[in-house]
């Protein structure tokens, strides 16, 4: 009833291949898009700058990681390093006088190059071994950044990002920075939505399911793994650059350290492998929930008049948060994206549930 499929006829190829054949899906996407565009007026400035904007950028990064992890099925434990390469390259580029747009793309390309070079070595192994060798990428990057002052920006290891100039126009307002982030996030989302129905996307899925089976049917698995590494590195690099220019305004090594890699991995896994909406959910869950639980716990403690020490107060949210992650994965191992899909599947035929049997 809600997701009405009546009246959808696959009479031509265009209709058959439509991205959102069901009207309600189209409506929801439209409303979300409108909300995204109207966000500077809808949300308070705190919510816009501290929650929505970073969430969108992290969601874009999580989508990039999901490409390699969810679609191509290759572990990547060094994604934060890839983002860091993009960020450092872009910041150095702009400081050297390169226009912002080109510098950001350069950041993405540099991340791609490093990603591919590394993938050449790393892809000779599979599974857990690949996971460990990508972790090595993370540590190599950390080491290089902290030992080459020319990259890190000297002894204090912070590099100020110059003001963002889009097409020669200074962007400093909250709304302006938000739209830059939104634009990038939308671009990545549209790319990923389309990836699913291209030959590349299907090849990646074939490689993920069984790489030698893919080879038997004529899909060169090594080539597609490389393409996956390259594409996801580009997305990661640009996301890192956007993150620094719109949110951090200064780049430091710990913004892209190993625990950030783990967080990204958690975003993808909690959100759901190979799920686009799941990447959004996952980013929100991992990025925003700790702060929110923190406030909730502090508020509850205040309400109950409990006299809890600052330390305990800081640790209770950690426990709640950990329990929530385990809870989500127990309820639905495929992540939050699958939870959403379950609800949608149920509503597809609701209230005539027997029709599915």
């Amino acid at each position: 009833m809600l997701f009405r499929q009546a009246g959808i006829f696959h009479t031509d190829y265009a209709a058959d291949r439509a991205m959102f054949p069901i009207p309600l899906d189209r409506w929801m996407v439209g409303v979300l898009l409108a909300l995204g565009l109207a966000a500077p007026w809808v949300f308070s400035s705190l919510a816009l700058t501290s929650y929505v904007m970073p969430w969108l950028i992290w969601a874009a990064a999580a989508l990039g990681l999901n490409l390699i992890l969810g679609w191509a099925g290759q572990f990547h434990f060094g994604y934060a390093a890839i983002m860091g390469i993009g960020a450092y390259t872009a910041v150095h580029g702009v400081r050297a006088g390169i226009p912002w747009e080109i510098a950001v793309v350069l950041g993405g390309l540099m991340a791609t190059v490093v990603g591919i070079v590394f993938a050449f070595a790393a892809l000779r192994v599979k599974g857990l071994y690949l996971a460990l060798s990508t972790l090595a990428l993370q540590f190599v990057m950390d080491w290089v950044i902290s030992h080459v002052p020319a990259i890190s920006g000297g002894v204090s290891a912070t590099l100020q990002a110059p003001t963002l100039r889009l097409l020669g126009q200074q962007v400093t307002s909250e709304a302006g920075l938000y739209y830059v982030a939104l634009g990038w996030c939308l671009f990545v989302t549209v790319f990923m939505l389309n990836l699913r129905r291209t030959a590349l996307g299907r090849a990646l899925v074939a490689v993920r399911e069984k790489d030698f089976a893919a080879a038997v049917i004529g899909v060169q698995s090594f080539y597609y793994k490389l393409v996956a590494f390259a594409t996801s590195s580009f997305i990661g690099g640009v996301s890192g650059a956007i993150l620094v220019f719109t949110f951090y305004h200064a780049v430091t090594p710990e913004q892209f350290s190993v625990n950030v890699s783990i967080e990204l991995l958690a975003m993808v896994i909690v959100g759901g492998l190979a799920s686009i909406i799941g990447s959004y959910f996952g980013a929100a869950f991992i990025l925003l929930l700790p702060g929110q639980i923190n406030q909730l716990v502090a508020w509850t403690a205040k309400l109950m008049g409990a006299d809890i020490g600052v330390e305990t107060l800081a640790h209770i949210p950690q426990m709640v948060y950990g329990a929530l992650i385990i809870g989500v994965l127990l309820v639905e191992p495929m992540g939050l994206g699958k939870l959403y899909a379950n609800v949608r599947n149920y509503l597809l035929v609701w209230p005539f549930g027997y029709a599915r049997k």
Partner: protein, 416 residues
């Protein structure tokens, strides 16, 4: 009917006005402590929050700062830059003007925003050292010595020990191999060149729990002095390895981050003879701590475990907030209420020879120098307590100044 409506409205207006007046009278001075209370900095943050709250209670009992109560807002950011930013952005919108992050990553992440918004960021002992250049970092107050200053003072102590000449003296520098540990190296290298001592660098990889290879090297090279930039548990590892390699404890000069917890983990007797660069007086003999013990903990009104008071980091917290409260007191005295960041800045910059009643070396903050003089001294653990080995010194001002100016000029250039 209309009359009642008007009188209700008038009543409401009067009530609101009354509340506003009341609010203004009792409006507190608020300090935002966006701290890492759950991850990397937990070895120091709880004590500092406790000290700040205790001292605020003591002052509030006397009527607060110039009649305004002090409110300490402590919030956890888990050492994650984005959550530190969230804490700053949220409290900034609630009207808080004074922030303290006590975490280098978060301090670095918040700094560009603080500079753009013109709020006050306290960052004693963390964050970028060049922020003491008040000309460039107008809103940042890292009151206390920089690490560059501290290491220069350590070298001065060694020089005094060797009767004024460092020729032929070997100084080893043991540090965790990331930005915090690498920071003093430029100053050490410059001093090694000018003073003629031999500098040996011993990096240990993070997380610093394995220092076996490093200390064997130290034994082989046998330096006369070892300066370490270790933190919390790394001290214990270092002490164990030193004992194993037969390196005497009295060669060791640690960075200021060395507290009673570390001493207990090493063993009070084992740690005898080791030295520490000190920026705040340890122990409980200070009159303020005695007062806190009597008025708060004696009556069961302390803001945490009484055990934490026997910790030099508690004294550090007291020192940081003595300075901050005094700065705000001067600000209200000079500029009156309501406070603005500009008034607080002016207040902080008029601190003259303030030593928190002997708790710290006297600091004099000016518009140019937000550090306050950079004095430290060397304390030695004598088996039961810290005993001072030198006066408060501030050495090699020109060398330290040069590093600071280089760095801050770089910041000034790029933040345009």
């Amino acid at each position: 009917m209309k009359k009642t409506w008007i009188s209700t409205l008038a009543g409401a207006v009067m009530l609101l006005a009354g509340q506003a007046a009341l609010a203004q009278k009792a409006e507190p001075v608020r300090f935002a402590l966006c701290y890492d209370l759950s991850k990397a900095y937990t070895f120091v943050t709880p004590q500092i929050v406790q000290a700040a709250k205790d001292y605020a209670d003591i002052l509030n009992a006397k009527g607060g700062i110039q009649g305004h109560k002090i409110e300490i807002i402590a919030q956890d950011h888990g050492n994650e830059p984005q959550r530190g930013i969230e804490c700053y952005e949220k409290l900034k919108r609630e009207g808080v003007m004074i922030f303290d992050t006590l975490s280098t990553p978060v301090s670095r992440a918040v700094l560009p925003r603080v500079m753009a918004d013109g709020n006050i960021l306290l960052q004693s002992f963390v964050g970028r050292g060049d922020a003491i250049d008040g000309d460039v970092f107008k809103w940042i107050f890292p009151i206390g010595p920089t690490y560059w200053g501290q290491v220069a003072n350590d070298i001065q102590y060694i020089k005094n020990y060797h009767k004024g000449s460092l020729k032929g003296v070997k100084v080893g520098f043991v540090y965790p191999d990331y930005a915090f540990g690498q920071e003093p190296i430029p100053v050490l290298k410059t001093l090694a060149a000018t003073e003629g001592f031999e500098l040996q660098l011993y990096p240990n990889p993070l997380p610093g729990k394995d220092q076996a290879a490093l200390w064997t090297q130290v034994r082989r090279a046998n330096p006369d002095w070892i300066i370490t930039w270790n933190l919390s548990a790394m001290h214990v590892v270092a002490a164990k390895e030193m004992k194993r390699n037969g390196i005497p404890m009295d060669k060791l000069i640690s960075v200021n981050w060395f507290n009673e917890v570390d001493i207990n983990n090493i063993g009070a007797a084992e740690a005898k003879g080791m030295k520490r660069g000190t920026n705040v007086v340890g122990g409980q003999n200070h009159p303020l701590i005695q007062q806190i013990l009597k008025d708060l903990y004696g009556k069961g009104k302390g803001n945490g475990d009484r055990k934490n008071l026997d910790d030099v980091y508690y004294n550090t917290g007291l020192a940081m907030y003595s300075v901050a409260f005094e700065g705000v007191r001067l600000a209200i005295k000079q500029g009156g209420w309501p406070l603005t960041p500009a008034k607080i800045k002016a207040g902080m910059e008029s601190l003259r020879n303030f030593d928190a009643n002997g708790l710290i070396a006297p600091v004099t903050v000016t518009a140019k120098d937000h550090g306050g003089g950079g004095k430290t001294r060397i304390d030695m653990w004598d088996g039961t307590k810290w005993t001072p080995q030198s006066d408060w010194i501030s050495a090699y001002g020109d060398v330290v100044e040069k590093v600071i100016k280089e760095q801050s000029a770089e910041f000034a250039k790029t933040s345009k």
